[in-house]
Symmetry: C2
Subunit: 190 residues, 2 copies
Amino acid sequence: MPHPPVTFSYPDWVDDVVGDWDRRYAADADKMRLAVALSRVNVERGTGGPFGAAVFERDTGRLVSVGMNSVVRFNNCTLHAEMVAFMTAQQRVARFSLAGDGLPVHELVTSCEPCAMCLGATLWSGVKRVIYGAAREDASRLKFEEGPVFPASYQYLEARGITIVRAVLREEAREVLELYRRSSGTIYNG
Amino acid sequence: MPHPPVTFSYPDWVDDVVGDWDRRYAADADKMRLAVALSRVNVERGTGGPFGAAVFERDTGRLVSVGMNSVVRFNNCTLHAEMVAFMTAQQRVARFSLAGDGLPVHELVTSCEPCAMCLGATLWSGVKRVIYGAAREDASRLKFEEGPVFPASYQYLEARGITIVRAVLREEAREVLELYRRSSGTIYNG
């Protein structure tokens, strides 16, 4: 039986949204603006759900990778924005952990609070800081489920040295969820 | 900037272990024997961690996909055995959910209790039954972390119609963890 490889890639608009890949991002809000822009264009171009993410080097503000929900485009339930950002970051640095020896500290910026799968992957990814925009409640209002995430889940990550920063540009991130609702996008895990 | 696709595939020994892809699997123990065999050969051939999985059609016992830990081989922290099985099953049926309209009921069989990421993905995968072999404690003894999984996490899945079957061929599955420890395999999320 043939076993074709599983594969995915960024949509063709990604460089239009990112612009200069060598730009340094200073404030958390600058980083979040990119994640939200990715979520918005993903909806506008019909390439996926209303979620965007990016991985940065924490101290230099250098962009390492981006992510956008790609579940429907590739028939792959795991391709949430955060997962796409983790996988493409690890491919870029050619390591299975962003906390590997000799690597700078990495962080994840995501337009919406991570679901249970993405929060678990956060631990394995090696990022040491997570910044999110819209909250679980904002996504639930659209009937997007977040899965089994509890206060203890965050405590578990924090106990392992991961800092969580909440509600950065929440309103801007929430607006994209609303845009998706109005455009009647597929709720692929409702 | 170039954006090469992210890709992964089964190791070349997979058909030797599976044998007849059209075989029907009757009992849970038969299905688990395949998951454990995949975990063992993955260690013996040096292609990944000591974890194997498979997705079946629940009622016919037809094999849909297999998975083996592939984190180190592809520099990709998300490629746990369960995730590989979900992604290749969804590629095979060409749907982002195994619970899509018109599809038979699917189940996941995994040689070890799923981590937080894989348990979250279980919800999005569309499988309605999870059968695991070795327990969290067996993996922790090897310093493999399972992440933020709580009794409430399982209750969350069960409340959404997912049945959990525990400790099938636990001893056989645990032995492969031991084999990996003795062969001093990389603990990629210790």
